[in-house]
Amino acid sequence: MDSAGDLHQGVSNGTNTLNIHVEVHMKSSSTAKKETVKLHVLDLLKRHRMVFGDFKWTEFDDEFLVNNVESVAIVDADFIQPVDLSNSCLSIHVFTLNYEGPMTENLDEEDNLVAANQWLLPAEEFHGIWESLIYENGIKSQLLDYVSTTIFFSDKNVDSNLIAWNRVVLLHGPPGTGKTSLCKALAQKLSIRLSNRYKYGQFVEINSHSLFSKWFSESGKLVAKMFQAIQQLINDPDALVFVLIDEVESLTAARSASQAGTEPSDAIRVVNSVLTQLDQIKRYPNVVILATSNVTEKIDLAFVDRADIKQYIGPPSPEAIFNIYLSCLDELMRCQIICPKEQLLTYRELKMLGFLENSVSQLSMFLRRIALKSKGLSGRVLRKLPFLAHALYVKTPTVTLERFLEALALAVDKQFEERTKLTNSV
């Protein structure tokens, strides 16, 4: 659909026009038609034609947008040059969040153990995770492209006997690097991106421990029952179903281990059951299986083999650490814990300046030094460091940015100190 002006919306026509995704988050109370919202957003974008990367509008002049829209965001723009929107192809995704929270699925009537949590996407709980995850080398866009290709292949009716793809993504790496969060964020993102194709998304998080029965030989059946429940969701062609198997090694422990007699034979049945069920599910175009693991060598080879993408998620690089800290500091400034508000330079801007230290870049360079020092810490630790810094070294309700950075540097030192103590004592 072309707007009245010269902004284009819709699928790119194959030429080298840039495809830009615009996500419009509608207010949950809004009853406006999506087409109307789109028109107003196009209007807004027409007024702000030049974009320099990701950008998010939360305040509007247009009264209609004030009443109906929470935010308009240009997302995942990986261009370096400023871009004129009139020359590019716009995909506008309008969405509202689901506020229900997870629904639980019990397999055993007597047992109250929850076998799976189920979210309707896009879910309020997963909102903002995608932006908070910072990786290098375009890992996020690769994963997005993978799933898009999966769906593209299914659309084109590619014979899956000739070209095989299993719809299984395995994320592995050290703890605290955001594997589980990435799975949730990916599902959220795709349910928004593909909203014109699939009316809604379902996210099922399997609780692996619930699938082991106290009764011998029942475990395999429980797995089959679980997948039957998932199958029912998949049967609706309007639904895009994501199945997350967290810590997958507990469900698909290497069967070779059991030959040594250290695993009961029931565990083998579970692995067999999972593998056969996966093979059944992959026939459907609207399902993606996401698995995460810390210890890949424990996973059965047959499962690893089925995963199309085995993505390693490692600890963040200094650039990613810098960006993580930057987002933390922004949040603290927004909450007025760091006062007065000061603008820090981004890593890209520092790079362009050649990492020269002057009066403008002084604090940003300080932050970069902290980031370099923090190398080796996981994302989970990094996100809690600003909290620890405030708790241990600030001790006043509000603080200047410079003072806070000093505290942050101390907190990093302490983190490494604790770590060496922990390893020495072992």
């Binding site: 949950s28 109370s29 809004s30 009853t31 038609k33 999506k34 509202t96 506020y99 229900e100 629904m103 019990n106 009537e109 189920q118 309707l120 009316k199 809604y200 379902q202 029912q232 969701l233 049967n235 609706d236 309007d238 639904a239």
Partner: protein, 304 residues
């Protein structure tokens, strides 16, 4: 389905295939239903409906209706029960239909250990004794899980009150009661279809109580809801179709919502057999502007 059972019973007796109720479903069919019906709880519901009706025998033609008219008119197909009222109904009655059906379904699907109104009474009785507390007969409530019970009753009360508000703001052609799962993939779905009802002025319409009696009479006879089997406790969500611009605040609009087709579905279709008094009412409404609203509160079932 149980509906088919009735059909089969009638057919075997009368060899009349057309409608289950048409021949009066006399003889064996009737007896079978009599046998199947009771169970103490269900009897209690019947009594409750009857007492509700008792006070207001306002409109003679509709009090007669259930006795003579409704049986032949109650058409029960697979998963669909039609209730035809002999005249227009008041706007406020529609709300009562939906509310009563919600209470009924919750009880019938074993999400409440006793009918809602009875639970309210129980709750009142167990509440710290007021002035009249000493006079009241002490009721046995020891088995009831107090906190869970109160929470569920609070949720249900909130939903019922807000349903009333929504009904006063907009015409409601459809109400969904979704049990279990989530709104897109529920375990069971009840659809209350009010589209074919002719709405009239309060004065010239059928009495609410009489209509309720006819409605529940039809449901009991059609025997669609009674399946004595243990059920797990689930969450119940209420969805209401209403006008886009009705300005309701409590309900959340769900624009893209489509009624799930894969769940076990039971439609209760209410209609009037009279023609709308003014052509304005009968003219094609713009259903485009009617969207689904979801109650932000789910009703979690509880047992004793």
């Amino acid at each position: 389905m149980a509906v088919l059972d009735i059909g089969a019973a009638v057919t075997s007796e009368n060899t009349d295939v057309s409608l289950p109720g048409k021949t009066g479903a006399g003889g064996r069919g009737e007896e079978e239903k009599e046998n199947r019906l009771p169970g103490p709880g269900q009897a209690a519901v019947l009594v409750e409906v009857d007492t509700a009706t008792g006070g207001s025998a306002g409109c003679p033609r509709c009090v007669d209706a259930p006795a003579r008219g409704s049986r032949p008119r109650a058409q029960a197909e697979d998963g669909r029960v039609c209730v035809v009222f002999r005249g227009a109904v008041a706007h406020t009655s529609c709300c009562r239909f939906a509310c009563e059906l919600l209470k009924f379904v919750l009880y019938e699907r074993q999400q409440l250990p006793a009918p809602y109104d009875q639970l309210l009474l129980l709750q009142e009785a167990t509440a710290p004794a007021g002035r009249q507390g000493a006079l009241r007969r002490p009721m046995k409530t020891s088995g009831l899980d107090g906190r869970r019970c109160q929470q569920t009753l609070r949720e249900l009360k909130e939903v019922l009150q807000n349903l009333e508000v929504l009904f006063s703001l907009t015409l409601v052609p459809r109400v969904l009661l979704l049990l279990g799962g989530n709104v897109m993939a529920p375990k069971e779905l009840f659809e209350i279809d009010l589209e074919a009802l002719v709405l009239g002025e309060e004065a010239g319409s059928l009495g609410t109580a009489a209509c309720l009696r006819q409605l529940f009479h039809t449901l009991f006879v059609a025997d669609v809801l009674f399946k004595p089997q243990p059920r797990s406790l689930v969450a119940t969500t209420v969805m209401v179709l209403g006008h886009r611009d009705c300005g309701v605040g409590w309900f959340r609009p769900r624009q893209d919502y489509t009624v799930p087709t894969r769940a076990k579905r039971q439609v209760i279709a209410l209609s009037s057999d009279t023609h709308p008094p003014t052509p304005a009412q009968g003219e094609q409404r713009d259903w485009e502007d009617y969207i689904w609203f979801q109650a932000p509160v789910v009703i979690k079932g509880f047992c004793k």
